[in-house]
């Protein structure tokens, strides 16, 4: 578990990158300045495969995916202010729940979504497990805190 101070940093990273990520996903807008050369272990543009090549690529999506992942990990796995065994169990339960939902969506999409749309769904599924986990965990924390205050 990460120290509590990383939680705030996680939110600062997560919120803007997630909003930009959704915008990118819908609009496909790429930032011109992010057209750079990258080292690729493996590359193919639905053609022949290239190994260990330096290629031109727009890294808008790479940066967004990494930032969203970083934000989600920091928010989901930093200690809460009052971390104890109960909170820990709530976190684990949220993680298991997110896994179940993600698997259900994966199976459903595989059975009923085809072509380019399936690829889009895969992009969402890349981040949805962590996203569902963080959302579920935050809602659970909110409920726990509210209940405690009613007494």
């Amino acid at each position: 578990m990460l120290p509590h101070k990383f939680m705030r940093f996680g939110w600062i990273v997560l919120v803007p990158s997630l909003l930009l990520g959704i915008w990118y996903f819908i609009s496909d807008y790429e930032i011109e300045a992010l057209n750079v050369k990258v080292f690729a272990l493996l590359n193919d543009d639905f053609g022949p495969k290239d190994f260990f090549a330096v290629i031109g690529n727009n890294v808008t999506d790479e940066i967004l995916i990494l930032l969203i992942t970083l934000g989600l990990v920091l928010v989901g796995f930093s200690r809460t202010k009052t971390e104890d065994e109960y909170i820990n169990r709530v976190r684990l339960e949220s993680l298991v729940w997110a896994t179940y939902v993600n698997v259900a969506v994966l199976v459903f999409s595989t059975l009923f979504i085809y072509g380019g749309s399936y690829f889009s769904v895969m992009v969402v599924l890349l981040l949805s497990q962590l996203l569902l986990f963080v959302a579920k965990f935050q809602i659970a924390l909110y409920k726990i805190r509210r209940q405690g205050n009613e007494e």
Binding site: T82, D84, E85, Y86, I87, R89, I144, R145, Q147, G148, E151
Partner: protein, 66 residues
């Protein structure tokens, strides 16, 4: 599993918050245990019992559906 933490607290006249601080958990955790929403670990149960100078079995009790 049911427990008599609420009663023990009343006897000792301490709040959830005070008990929580003494055994190093959050007040919400004590609240969840009292409401039967969370079954504490063995270590935490022993700490709670020690706080009331009782044995674990005096505070925690199995129910039929356990």
């Amino acid at each position: 599993m049911k427990n008599s933490i609420r009663v023990e607290r009343a006897i000792k006249r301490i709040t959830q918050e005070q008990l929580a601080q003494k055994i190093g958990v959050s007040r919400q955790t004590i609240n969840a245990i009292e409401q039967g929403k969370y079954v504490p670990s063995t270590v935490l149960s022993l700490k709670i019992a020690r706080e009331f100078d009782k044995r674990v079995e005096d505070i925690f009790e199995l129910e039929d559906d356990d």
